[in-house]
Symmetry: C2
Subunit: 540 residues, 2 copies
């Protein structure tokens, strides 16, 4: 790949100039949005998904230039190459094929001469069979009891997406198997979960591509000891989701079931593979998982096929870059006006920040421009009563609002101040975007609102698996497109390696002392020594 | 108050100059921390609480200047004035006396000639009596069954602190009454909670200072209808925590119990008042609540009495200002290496961002410097597998690590790679701070780490109520001190008003259509009309 450094392009310089223009008082958002065609011009509706970027700080000309950035970087073409199996994750020498996990077309996807969709379908068939046997109580625990709960042992990309989807769907679909998440090596994460489950009716689902992740390995050990303490055979309680040939894929290590994941799907893009497929099919049934995949597929088709100027994730990516590199916002909030989407922000925090928080281009050069921003968020209206003071009067940051047209709970309700709760929720969502944009003059500076604070609003129809699938896939495609424009690799994560290496040195020291309590931490740096001495002393 | 604008002071200008100096390669953190006395010099230990700021990007001279900032602004003196009942929240004409709620000294605190500690103690006595009657099953629900659960109806400061403490303590102390939180006006928040409770054994605790908050009022209505549907008398199931004389304090409105909160305690500082006292005493027992208060008090004494250069919250505040205004970091992460502290970051996000996200000084001038930063966070090691790629190789931001010396779960455990889970957790915490500070050279730019990324580390001994209290009070005092230096009012929140006003206009429109479905939204702006039409149509 020979993409020139983003900041060296003539369009980058032109956008820098345009950003100075848009910063003038005359181009305040309150003026931009007054154009009668504004919403129509700066919004896109596809089936069951609506994206309103009319309150972003752009005008027709900037929009045109941003689209030109996308065209010149040929990012749509690269998206298609990605989906067709090209080795675009060059630093790890891998294809990137999360889209294949939900590709319901008849087109094969070849990798090394083989149609990987056949392999994916086979895993899905295995998930279907296994989950239905669990639901039909044809597979039970060692003590002969049907399963009621499952603990997911997995960290980062091995659980965040699944946790988001599980929480989003459990409002509308009663889980058959309740899911618990054990990502953290913190023993109190384990200690808390075992209070919530019955050992005889609980599955332990280990999700790890490499089956070497330190936290996951440590938690498997605790789970195995726990099963032993309760006289339960792991062969009846343990399920693995891992790469073919990993240490977890050893048939001599008996487990209840084992499912494959693939090296062409990165952790943070893996929720539509067996990583999400196994727990979500157990929780809600395989049919629900497939409906979720269909929603993802619909958005994938849009992301692949819609022209640049009508392409929701692509435009959203361009706006992300405009906001970070040209309007110099350091963060972006995701505020779903929907309790069920409470785990969306933590998932996108990983997806975006791990994909885009890079210091190196695909060409191996240091970046001298912003790659990604800090993502954070809480559901609205909660966030209004938490950090929205800062959003209105502190340092500005863009916000993405998400609204759901139809709530799940529709039984008898009462009104307050003349409106139903769901209407109140929307009144606030609409009002916040407006208030942030227009602001308000006041001689009393404490009641002065500068406004000019940008936001987007996404609407989905409901909390069905299909709608949630579209939302997930929207963010995946947006992240990928943003990486393509920035000229970085959104699929690797070398930045996490240094910490692992240093932790390993410290772990070795601890291990030595565990064997011989007279061991002193004299060979390590005095700060680490201080902390380890405190840990072993057991008090400050 | 006639504090000069912070940015106009000679110290501000001097710190600006010093920040240019510290940005030179020669003052890279990896060099600063090599000084053999570094940890000793830049850390403070008090009883059961340790604060290590040796990996902040400061040197002796900068530290001295920062302390001078605190001295010249007389912030310790103002802290004492606050605690003694002076009307320091001038924009709302109120005293600020959250410290009085946990003041176990014999010193009275006078407000308008009355010792408000008497009133506080009286409320606490009522909480003690009520919670113990509930626990002894002397007070039961309408159907004659003992209570098992309580739903907190309250938003923002009325629940975030309580949610943090409840989650922190429930790892070590089994709740007698399980708490659920209903902050959001989202009807699906309500719909989800009623799946988790038994109506006959559930208390509804309404927490609202004004008893007018829209979300809370709407949720009371749903709760009352729910009780009616289950033929339960609200007089046996409803508890209120509200201001004397508020609409919720009406004796003709029969409730099971009612507790007072005071206008001299702001929402985000209120967890040690009845706002936290009622639910936490119900959950864990009044004795536990008092132990928590004692921890807060201990930190309050330190915050009040320790000299500037030994004062943990004060120094932490100065470092926050140094990082935001001089090193120009836009955000700060809070990373507890402790699952039980998973709700700390959302609470501090409110406490910090609502207190400090201001655009106006106490003198009514617009600020031309940074007031507060974006606060976000997730527990470690989870965060390492989520956004730490960005922390190491993306745009830098300071991190506050929190470690707990002793875990709760201490039963039989097994090792992995030669170490116990809790040791693995600490190995990672130590390694991350080190990796961020020192970085690593590499010819391969993908494996290059610039380092020089600042962090602090806080240690507490355990997850006892006392330790959690110290942690809470540390953040409260830090926030207050930071506001004092910045010359802003950390106790008001006028920035949330504009959104409320605009929401009210939209609500009125919806109300009209609820009454007359032929009503058209023609009198409002076309964007709001589009959203409301979509909402009423029920599909995109």
């Amino acid at each position: 790949m020979n993409q020139p450094q983003f900041s060296h392009s003539y369009l980058y310089k032109e956008l820098k100039t345009l950003s100075k223009e848009i910063n003038k008082e005359n181009n305040h958002l309150k003026k931009l949005i007054q154009h009668p065609d504004r919403l129509n011009r700066f919004s896109i509706r596809i089936n069951n998904f609506f994206y309103d970027f009319s309150k972003q700080r752009i005008d027709e000309y900037i929009f045109k230039k941003l689209i030109q950035v996308a065209r010149e970087a040929k990012i749509k073409n690269r998206f298609l190459k990605m989906a067709s199996g090209e080795i675009i994750n060059v630093t790890e020498n891998r294809a990137v094929l999360h889209t294949a996990t939900r590709d319901f077309t008849q087109t094969p996807v070849f990798l090394n001469g083989e149609d990987i969709k056949l392999e994916i379908n086979q895993v899905n068939e295995e998930i279907k069979t296994f989950s239905s046997k669990i639901h039909q109580k044809r597979i039970k625990g060692y003590a002969g009891k049907a399963f009621t709960d499952a603990v997911i042992i997995g960290i980062g990309g091995s659980y965040l997406g699944c946790e988001f989807i599980f929480n989003a769907l459990k409002h509308s679909i009663k889980p058959i198997i309740n899911l618990h998440f054990l990502p953290n090596v913190d023993i109190d994460n384990f200690g808390q979960i075992i209070k919530e489950i019955n050992p005889e009716t609980c599955l332990w689902i280990v999700i790890s591509k490499s089956y070497t992740t330190t936290e996951t390995m440590a938690n498997i050990e605790q789970a195995l000891l726990f099963l032993k303490d309760h006289h339960l055979d792991p062969a009846n309680h343990l399920v693995t989701v891992t790469s073919k040939g990993s240490p977890g894929d050893d048939p001599s290590n008996p487990v209840l079931a084992s499912f494959h994941m693939f090296d062409f799907i990165g952790g943070r893009y893996s929720v539509t593979s067996a990583v999400g497929g196994v727990p979500l099919s157990l929780a809600f049934g395989y049919d629900i998982f497939i409906r979720f995949l269909k929603g993802c597929h619909e958005m994938d088709l849009h992301a692949s096929n819609a022209p640049e100027e009508k392409n929701i994730p692509l435009i959203s990516a361009l706006i992300g870059i405009w906001n970070s590199n040209f309007l110099v916002y350091a963060a972006q909030a995701i505020i779903p006006y929907c309790s069920a989407l409470s785990k969306l922000a933590p998932h996108i925090q990983q997806l975006h920040m791990e994909s885009l928080g890079k210091g190196t281009t695909m060409n191996g050069q240091s970046t001298d421009y912003k790659t990604g921003v800090i993502i954070f968020g809480e559901p609205g209206t909660n966030a209004q009563h938490s950090f929205f003071q800062f959003a209105h009067q502190g340092s500005p940051f863009p916000i993405e609002f998400i609204g759901v047209v139809n709530p799940v709970y529709k039984r008898n309700q009462t009104t307050s101040k003349g409106v139903y709760n769901h209407q109140e929720l929307w009144a606030n969502m609409i009002a916040q975007a407006q208030a942030l944009a227009v602001g308000q003059d006041d001689e009393n500076k404490a009641k002065y609102f500068s406004g000019n604070r940008p936001s987007s609003t996404i609407l989905i129809n409901d909390l069905t698996p299909e709608s949630i699938g579209m939302l997930l896939s929207f963010y995946e495609a947006k992240t990928v497109y943003e990486g393509f424009v920035l000229g970085i690799n959104p699929f690797d994560q070398f930045g996490v390696e240094l910490g692992k290496i240093l932790a390993s040195d410290i772990r070795n020291q601890i291990g030595k002392k565990n064997i011989d309590m007279s061991y002193h931490f004299d060979s390590i740096d005095p700060v680490a020594k201080f902390y380890l001495d405190t840990l072993f002393k057991g008090s400050l």
